[in-house]
């Protein structure tokens, strides 16, 4: 199935403003970003990102699956130092949160968190998927990646 509902013209216009870091893992629809995983047609196991084969039942029968936008924080940390390349974040390093968010009954996804103060994060917090800027390309295009933010 096509995971990006926009026409190619719309996408071409959009690209000058921003692009997603990898359209194989992340798409945007009218309601916002969605992560793209795979779901096994046989045993219902969901993976992120997409996989050709199911790691649980080993069958090669996976369908693309748009993952839920909201979930709960399962664990977290804060990255306190600048990672070595290939990290491509902002030139001036700012510590960032990282966590696993449990999308209820589906899968746990590892992601950057918009909150970087560990005192403001708790296991079990409600989180929602957002887009955040990672860096700019040489032509000025802003590259967006996904993150989870505390749900309002």
């Amino acid at each position: 199935m096509s995971v990006d509902p926009r026409s190619s013209d719309e996408k071409a216009a959009d690209v000058r403003k921003h692009r997603l870091i990898d359209e194989g893992i992340l798409v945007e629809d009218e309601d916002g970003p969605r992560l793209v995983g795979s779901s096994c047609r046989s045993c219902r196991t969901t993976t992120f990102p997409r996989q050709e084969a199911c790691p649980k039942c080993a069958r090669v029968d996976m369908a693309d699956s748009l993952l839920p936008r909201r979930g709960t924080l399962w664990s977290f940390t804060v990255q306190g130092f600048r990672p070595k390349p290939p990290y491509a974040g902002p030139g001036e390093f700012v510590p960032y949160g990282v966590g696993y968010v449990e999308l209820p009954g589906v899968v746990l996804v590892e992601a950057v968190l918009t909150e970087n103060d560990p005192e403001r994060l708790r296991i079990g917090d409600e989180m929602e998927l957002v887009l955040v800027p990672l860096r700019r390309d040489e032509d000025g295009t802003e590259i967006l990646t996904f993150a989870f933010a505390p749900a309002r």
């Binding site: 990672p83 990282v98 590892e110």
Partner: protein
């Protein structure tokens, strides 16, 4: 047939400018040969590896071109354990009587920078800042302390014990004791883990000489027997380093799987070991691995640390040589360092860090990316 460890040798861990990883491996081999009282020409086979310091089989250029079969092992953090398993099988099968296992490494400063592509993960994972082992250990500690009601103060206690034990070990990298205040006050690298709660990638080499059990007394008056060596990878549902996603259901970890199988094959239980070396990439994993390996109950660790039960004079001394925290982690050598220490302890030859009471059984456990564990049981 039993397999005995009759020679141990190591190149000190740490940073050694101008000394290659291969040289450190060759140094360890020569020390192990000397310890067993054999020459390189007596060795019938060799197995070994490094992660980033070259091919182990190239050591024959320095050790002697004797035409012996030499198998390279490249198995991440389980390189040493996997090499030992191969050597054990080669002797147990009757194919050879005497062989050597060697592991060495030399890593650049700072956190490991693994390429996501080597694990089948897209480049976005590294670019967005998720390709760090340290984040996994931070999140594992966060979740483990939460699930089992353990206070964060336990983390500094683990590290303080490691640096104290390291201060008694002439082969250790970090040989200066540190207070819990100093450990807690160092830079926060990956909450809740500070700089001195993490081990660092480093350098070093270790070698072991193994032989048929019934020939052991030919080489040493104090043989130690390898009762089991087991390697396991992930089950569906385990929580592992470098995982962009996890299943909703939880399964036993590779450490739980490997330790149970190692105890079963050895025919002794966790309660019967006199000391243990467990993977302490960080303070949090010494705590969680103790329970995953069956050495204590989940949640019991805070009391064990408070009472000194895992210290050198305690009921179950853990990471008696200072562990990864005080020795650093040269990947290819790290698992063999644990066995080197266990053999030294069972021989009663561990100097000022000797565990009292003539220990007779020791356990070792390695854990690493992308979710592997290797465990051994050795006895006198």
């Amino acid at each position: 047939m039993d397999v005995a460890i009759v020679g141990i040798g190591m190149h000190p861990f740490g940073r050694h400018q101008g000394v290659s990883g291969r040289q450190q491996g060759a140094h360890a081999v020569r020390a192990a040969l000397k310890d067993a009282g054999v020459s390189w020409a007596d060795v019938q086979f060799a197995v070994g590896g490094s992660h980033s310091a070259g091919d182990a089989d190239s050591l024959v250029s320095d050790l002697g071109l004797t035409a012996l079969p030499f198998v390279n092992v490249y198995n991440g953090c389980a390189t040493g354990g996997s090499s030992l398993i191969m050597a054990d099988s080669l002797i147990r099968s009757g194919a050879h009587d005497l062989g050597i296992v060697v592991g060495f490494d030399k890593h650049p400063r700072g956190a490991f920078d693994t390429d996501p592509a080597t694990l089948g993960i897209g480049s976005w994972y590294g670019e967005t800042g998720l390709m760090l082992t340290t984040q996994f250990f931070g999140m594992k500690a966060q979740r483990y302390l939460h699930d089992h009601g353990i206070g964060r103060s336990a983390l500094a206690k683990v590290a303080a014990k490691a640096y104290y034990n390291g201060s008694l070990n002439p082969n250790a990298w970090r040989r200066v004791p540190m207070t819990e205040e100093e450990i807690n006050g160092s830079a926060m690298l990956s909450h809740p883990l500070t700089q001195y709660m993490f081990c660092s990638p480093g350098e070093g080499g270790v070698a072991l000489v193994l032989c048929r059990g019934d020939r052991a007394h030919k080489y040493t008056s104090r043989p130690v027997y390898l009762r089991s060596a087991v390697l396991r990878s992930r089950l569906f549902g385990s929580f592992e380093v470098f995982s962009p996603w996890l299943a909703v259901e939880r399964a036993q970890s590779p450490s739980e799987q490997a330790s149970r199988a190692a105890f079963e094959a050895a025919g002794i239980g966790p309660a019967e070991v006199d000391l243990a070396q467990v993977q302490d990439t960080d303070s949090g994993t010494e705590i969680s691995h103790l329970a995953e390996c069956g050495l204590c109950e989940h949640g019991e660790q805070e009391e064990l640390l408070r009472s000194g039960a895992t210290g050198l004079g305690g009921r179950l001394p853990v990471n008696t040589d200072g562990g990864c925290l005080a020795n650093g982690e040269p990947i290819g050598a790290s698992g063999l360092r644990q066995i080197h220490e266990n053999v030294a302890q069972l021989r009663g030859a561990a100097g000022t860090r000797q565990v009292p009471g003539e220990p007779k059984a020791a356990f070792s456990h390695v854990y690493g990316a992308p979710g592997v564990s290797a465990c051994t049981v050795i006895t006198t």
